[in-house]
Amino acid sequence: MDLCVFGVDDGYAEAIIRGLRASFLTEAQYQQMKNCASIPELKSFLEETDYQNCLQADNPQIPTSILRQRLKKKLADEFEYIEAQSTGTLTKYLFHLRCRFMIDNVVNMIEGLKNKIDIEILLSNIDPLGWFPEIKNIKVLEGDDYSSLYRDVLIDTPIGVYFMKFLEESIENLHENRTLNDIQNLFREMKPEYIRTSLKKMWLEDFYSFCESELMPTSQEALLELLKFEADFKTVQVIYNSIGNRDLNTAAKIITTRKQLCPTIGNLYPDCEKVYLQAMTLDALREAVKGCDNYRDLLKDAPDPLKREEFNVQTKTLDDIMYDDECRRYALSFDGQGSYGVFYAYLKLKEQEIRNIIWLAEMISRKLAKNHPGWKKIIIPFSHLGK
């Protein structure tokens, strides 16, 4: 039923996205990009693609960071256009998508301020997709006083809810008779990466429940599937990264941290939770997820995190494996009809494309030999289809 009326409100936005499908770089174009010998050459190549307009005004020897910013700006412009054309649920949905980037931006700002990086540089590096007006006010942050940051600035923002939950949770986890000092210590030791992961977890759960409650059945089906996998990937990543992590010295601490960071949704969640929380080696993790074929296959090729020192460029890390698998899923979901999955997939696949271009730009600017394994380390959207 919802397929009949999908086009009434969201047909135009979907049509735009379908049209933008043509802007993805093809495998042949990636091949040509790999053959570029210098950054100006890469830039002039990109000028022949859909990225033409966003690069024209720049100087040919464009630094990678600015290149990334330009590409992201283009994506953000497209996204903003679609957002402006959307109505009702779709607008809310698209806004939810943007929250992920806002979280990234806020955490990046916090991290930058902690490291005493100039605010102007930080502001110029924020992801345009996750821009919101309050972001410049994060400057107010003093030391590690996250609660006052929340109270003064973030409370009004879309991600304020997540931040509040995060603060509450982290304070609750302290022992009973906590003092103000304890809380300050907690914040001082807290790594921005930790904040990011827990905020994103909350966002994911929130987004999941939004999709569950407000979307039409077709969109729901497509999106819940994607989000479940994303949640599972997050879980696996958290567990994987916490194996052999030196900051978490006691087993109890590992488990509480994991419990805080692992999303409470997904295929793995209630059934395997006990097992994976306890997993202290890669094999144990493999054992924990063996219920789902897919993850077992993925983890089969992942290198052992206990031997992190031995990793080099050639190693296909867990992230690479997962991106690869995600990319396949998103491409499939992009071709699904009449669902909101296409917007999500578009965003993700474009992100992947930008990552690819930046990666190649890095490779080119470092003038690495053409037989270097790094050249193969890109995941081309839609390349999984039609094979």
Binding site: Q31, Q32, E48, I119, P133, N137, V140, I155
Partner: protein, 842 residues
Amino acid sequence: MSFFRSKKMKYYSLVIPRESAWVVMDQLGRLGQLHIIDYDPLLPMMNRPFANYVKRCDDALFKLNGINTLLKQFKKNLIYCNDTQKLLDKFRDIQNLRQKPGHTYFDEIELEIENKKNNIQEMSNNLQNLLDRVDSITEQKLVLEKAKEILGKSIFSQSTPHNVNDYQQLKFGQLIGVIDKEDENRFKRIMFRITKGNAWVNIVDLLPEKQHHQIKNQIDLNRVSQPRCLYVIIYPGMNDQSTMKQKLLKVCDSFCKNRIEYPNSEEAMENRLKDLNNQINETQSLIRMTKKQLEISLDELVREKNGCNCSYFEQLRLYVLKEKYLYINLNYLTMQGSIFTGYFWLPDGLEVLVEDKLRQAIQNNIDRFPTGQIQEMKPKSDILPPTYFNLNEVIIPFQEIVNTYGVPRYQEINPGIFTIITFPFLFGVMFADIAHGFLLLLTGLYVIFWKKQLSKQTDSMFNAMIPFRYILTLMGFFAFYNGLIYNDYLSISLNLFGSCYHPKNEEWERTLNCVYPFGIDPVWLASGSSLNFMNSYKMKLSVILGVTHMLFGILLKGVNNLYFRNYLDFFCEFIPQLLFMASTFGWMDFLIILKWLNVYPDKFDPSIIETMINQVLKPMDETSTPVFLNNASFQLQITQVLTIIAVLSIPWMLLPKPLILGSSQKKHKVSFSEPQYQKLVQERQGSELEIDPQQFRKDLQSAASGKSIEQSEVEHESGEIWVHQMIETIEFVLGGISNTASYLRLWALSLAHGQLAEVFYDMCIAGKLDMGGIVGGLMGGYFYIVFALLTFGVLMMMDVMECFLHALRLHWVEFQSKFYKADGYLFVGFSYNQMLSEHLKL
């Protein structure tokens, strides 16, 4: 005759030494008759020898574009060039004067553009900065003035408290600044949260426009400035070190940098304001100066230079365009060592001109490098030459009608030539009305005779009609003519020559041997059966026209077959098709005319449809109502013969051609085993840009064993030929019937047109004529206006369009499907003139 068939083309190879490439190409571009073929269409533009030059040209154009926006901002009107040939001659003269290699002129121009652009950019940036400064100073001034109003004088007279705890003596600090209007609410909220409500925040809109309205007008730069607000915060505590002040400062700074120190005494305040006023005046005079300078350098670009009849800016732009075009075409050639090789098509007989140009190239070349060489070649068998017609203004729209469907194959009969007359005629049959046709004719003639004046009025509707003036005139003429034939003047018949009937005893009697000389006797309109009569007449007429049109199309196919020496198609397709059409619908037309010519006794008038149906259903029975008067057996004999011919011609169309082709291919198979040249790489996909060594080897192998590939292709083909022939036959036989029926639209549209006209006339004019007196006059006037508007809107606009579209369809589908292959491609000459005239205006 280069309009009946496209011009003969010859294939040449072109070899140019690297050193004289530019000069030679420049000369050839002036000639404009070469259709240069891309040597390797799969090679990406980036990898071609002159890709860099093309890019430089693009950059230069980009810079020029930047300058142009500035020119527009300052409302400088460029003089556009209107004679490309003259401009090209000027370019050549400039080159000749320089006495340096021609291609270096672009370097100079590029440098000049770069300098000009930087210069202008710098000045406009300066101007921009100065304006910003004025803005910010004015804003400061405004802020101070407003703050003074808000805070009053008492703020200066706070004295240090003796007792800190005495809140009556509490001192207040203040922060003043400017934020964007859209941040207003957020600002208030954050302030409230930070101070927990312990500060007084006052926000006032700033309206700077009023203040330096005057300057803005002078500058004419459309700068959008966001609305801004002034904020004043009063908070308890004056100490600089207090945490609240630090925090407030931080927040205010995070919103915007525009925080303003408020002077701490009245005197200081006065001084600040004075100071600011001085600054504004200084900056304004600076602005005026910069603007003057900028205008001078912009004017330089607008002025004519070097005797070209256009602005210097246009001259630069067109030169860069020309250069880019040259390099793009040069990129179609391939570089082999120090020479460029390529292929091009040339219309027959122009070889002398090209050689002449090549000789000129060596004369113009200062370094006397050897010039290019051309040599006639045999074209590769798989490429057809381009289609090239010499067109003039009359036939361009007709050719355009044909090309929209498909460009004629090389040397194929061009349907465009027949379209010139058949298109307006068929349109006229549908739009037949003396008055409407005459109006259309007048419109066409008006545009033809007032062309010069009209071409200056760019916004006039007639200006848009200029390219179509001849087709309009012809359409109008034929509508007028057919209107006379149908005797239809806005749904009234004209009694031009005196009717042959006169009323007698309540009935109409015909004068003996009287024939109405031209068109339909007006008396028919008065008769009750006028619609029936006209319908039957128009229907028969349209079938006759349609069959004639189609038979003509089939004949053209025969002529084409003979021209291309395709005797197989001539005997196995053309002849049976012609016979089929002639013996069925041709025969029907003959019967129609025969019936018109005879007078039949009562109850013996034949029905043509019945005759046609019985021809097939009852082939042995003589009809009781023969079309041939009193000669039923003769008619039966003819129908029998014709039916047999029509039936026989169907298998004739279907069978022989594939059989003959199949057997000839069997013979050919033997010859395929002989070594033959073949494309080395079979099909290079666009994606495999780097040659995979393995693939390359495979290609080599397959080229060596070319036989196997060919054989499989042959088997594949013979099946395809059968299917193709079957489709052709079915399409022709069924199409013969449906196309004939399709021509009935000639009748249908003319009927619709006539009925519409009648309704408008009856409703608006005829009924109102009876009303007498002043009221009747007024009503008549009013309804005349309604009638005129309806006639104009519905009949002269919508119906013209509708009839046009239907005439278009009759040509594309019914006529052209009989013979027209339409798989050619247009000749695109490497011509400066053409390219420049496309880019004359930005």
